[in-house]
């Protein structure tokens, strides 16, 4: 009953909005005013500060079973990644190495992004089928496997914007490009330029090009 009252109330609000702003300051008078209900169904993004996080909660203990059922076939029981599907756990201290491992723990700067992404597009091929509580539980499980929160920490809309991720400070802004040698007049060397011309590698020797292009 309460739900019905709420629904009618929202309908009234949306009608009043559409009447009051009809054609007002609109140049072309094309399109319709969106209702709050319509927006609520599609507005699913969650920002780093937690704005947009839906009501719900869950901890890693409860997340394990959901993760194993819905995520592990691609990402592995321990988040290690199966075949070429991405690893979600580990990679600490590898970002400056020859083979960086960019996981939710080692690279992702915001916990909100994990929630946003898992809710909107995971499991792969079953997007937006998880409940908000299930999503909080899965994110808590990933954060726990990456040793960011304890297993009984209850993740919710109230605290997802406050989780400190290990690599939060690992990104630089703004874009410093153009960052390579600049020629004030757009006139680089044209004759007898001092450049290395020794062949140090051939793609043919690496031999990873798909077959139909081999000669």
């Amino acid at each position: 009953m309460l739900g019905l009252v709420k629904f009618l109330f929202l309908i009234m609000i949306s009608l009043s909005i559409s009447f009051s702003s009809h054609a007002e300051n609109r140049k072309y008078n094309i399109g319709k005013i969106a209702t709050k209900i319509e927006i609520a169904g599609w507005d699913i993004d969650v920002r780093p500060d937690g704005v947009g996080a839906p009501k719900g909660s869950g901890n890693a203990i409860d997340g394990e079973e959901i993760y194993v059922n819905r995520c592990a076939s691609c990402h592995g029981d321990f988040g290690e990644g199966v075949d070429r599907w991405p690893a979600l756990v580990g990679g600490d201290g590898t970002l400056a190495s020859h083979d960086p491992e960019k996981t939710t723990g080692s690279y992702w700067p915001y916990a909100s992004t994990i929630f946003d992404y898992v809710y909107r597009s995971m499991p792969f091929g079953e997007a937006q089928t998880l409940t908000h509580d299930e999503t909080y539980k899965i994110v808590a499980y990933l954060l726990n496997m990456n040793e960011i929160i304890d297993e009984d920490f209850v993740l919710s809309e109230k605290n997802i914007g406050k989780i400190k991720m290990p690599n939060a400070g690992g990104f630089s802004l703004p874009d410093p490009r153009p960052d390579v040698t600049k020629y004030k007049d757009g006139q680089p060397c044209m004759k007898n330029c001092n450049v290395p011309v020794k062949i140090i590698g051939k793609a043919r020797d690496i031999d990873v090009t798909p077959d139909d292009e081999k000669s």
């Binding site: 599609w42 500060d49 970002l95 946003d116 390579v180 450049v195 062949i199 793609a203």
Partner: protein, 422 residues
């Protein structure tokens, strides 16, 4: 009856028991080497004696069967599934600056979404005066623009940071295409919704199963972004976002959200998965650059190239493409000796803002080894860098934004290889 038989026999020659790849090779080799003398002067060719197919045999026309090798191709080992994957435009087989719609490379994160246009809605919400919903018909009633723009994936050439890895123009440069878009300027849509002063960012969101999302600053939105429904004069192809995609001229392709369903205005960036864990440029010190949106000037020699060996001694043409996310291409230089000496190529109009530009330069080949390179210069005087110049600043783990000069080695046999100089 006789005519029909001839038609059938001619067609069966090229299709009997052959897969696509084999067919392509057969066609190529027949074209290049094995002309049927019965069709050559002074004989009357068999196709002259028979009638051709009537109108409407192909209500939507397709390329000649002899062009079946001109297709998009992927590199299977690159990705875990074809639904979240990429293929490449066959630049080596294209002329001019327009990419045919069916050859525009595909990059999906959740497969090609199929949307009935009757069910299509674009929602604009957040920091606007009026949160609104538009149908496809609504969008088409607004003032429209028609603009050519290149779209390049930020990871184009991403496999080549450490060395020459893939032996083909298609695989090393083919994550770019160039079409004419028809749509409504996003700034015109904002005249309808109004915009609050506090709005500094937009979140563009797709309705595909990846729910693709990117943040774009308000300055770019007001400048030149387009909500587009057509490419090269026809509706967007499904794999390019049918019925509606976002066009973000000169900026990395991932931001051109396909199957666009929502634009939310906010006061801060949203830090989506695609702009934090992906499409950020990891430097050698372990820090990463974020929001590197512009695609810097780049060029490629599309012929000769590994797929297009030099066959004839004597007079030949070098053909290529150049582009810049910062404006128009001003000049392209070509080197035959690995960058020691350069010659300025001819640019072919139209030379458009943030669009592919065609260049050519003739050369005489007497069978010597060549190290072919091209170097683009844009109207901001930015000069396309060498890979060493990029590596010095960014290391080799960046994945994205490799706009360096490539080298094609032309061997004495005429065979062409992707090589790294150092």
């Amino acid at each position: 009856m006789t005519d029909k038989k001839k038609l059938i026999s001619r067609r069966s020659l090229f299709s009997s028991g052959a897969g696509l790849g084999a067919l392509a090779l057969t066609t190529k080799s027949l074209l290049a080497k094995e002309a049927n003398k019965k069709n050559l002067p002074p004989n009357v060719p068999e196709w002259t004696e028979a009638l051709g197919e009537g109108v409407d045999v192909n209500p939507y026309g397709m390329p000649s069967e002899f062009e079946s090798h001109v297709v998009r191709r992927n590199v299977e080992w690159l990705t875990a599934s074809t639904e979240s994957s990429v293929n490449f435009t066959p630049l080596q087989d294209l002329e001019g600056i327009v990419t045919p719609n069916g050859l525009c490379f595909e990059r999906h994160h959740g497969g090609t979404t199929i949307i009935n246009p009757a069910d299509y809605r674009l929602m604009i919400n957040g920091l606007v005066d009026r949160e609104m919903i538009f149908t496809l018909d609504d969008l088409k009633r607004f003032p429209q623009v028609n603009k050519f723009h290149f779209l390049e994936c930020a990871a184009n050439g991403g496999m080549e940071w450490r060395g020459a890895q893939l032996n083909g123009c298609q695989y090393t440069f083919g994550m770019v295409h160039n079409v004419q878009y028809t749509g409504v300027k996003l700034s015109d849509l904002l005249l309808e919704t109004g915009l609050k002063n506090s709005a500094k960012w937009i979140l563009a969101e797709g309705s595909d199963s990846s729910g693709m999302t990117r943040s774009i600053p308000i300055e770019k939105i007001k400048d030149d972004c387009i909500v587009a429904w057509a490419m090269n004069g026809e509706a967007l192809r499904p794999e390019q976002g049918y019925p509606v995609r976002l066009v973000v001229p000169g900026w990395e392709g991932n931001m051109w959200v396909k199957w666009l369903r929502r634009l939310e205005f906010g006061d801060k960036p949203y830090m989506t998965r695609e702009e934090t864990s992906k499409y950020t440029d990891l430097l050698s010190d372990g820090n990463a650059r974020m929001f590197t949106w512009v695609m810097d000037a780049k060029s490629v020699i599309t012929s000769p190239c590994p797929e297009k060996p030099v066959i004839h001694k004597g007079f030949n043409q070098i053909r290529g493409l150049a582009w810049s996310g910062r404006g128009k291409i001003k000049r392209v230089d070509v080197s035959f000796d690995g960058g020691k000496n350069w010659n300025t190529a001819q640019l072919h109009p139209p030379i458009l803002d943030k669009s592919l530009t065609r260049f050519t330069i003739p050369f005489e080949w007497s069978g010597e080894e060549l190290l072919l390179q091209s170097r683009a210069i844009d109207e901001t005087n930015y000069v396309q860098p060498t890979i060493q110049e990029l590596q010095k600043i960014r290391g080799v783990n960046s994945i994205y934004h490799n706009n360096s000069i490539a080298t094609w080695l032309v061997a004495k046999s005429g065979k062409v290889d992707n090589v790294r100089l150092g």
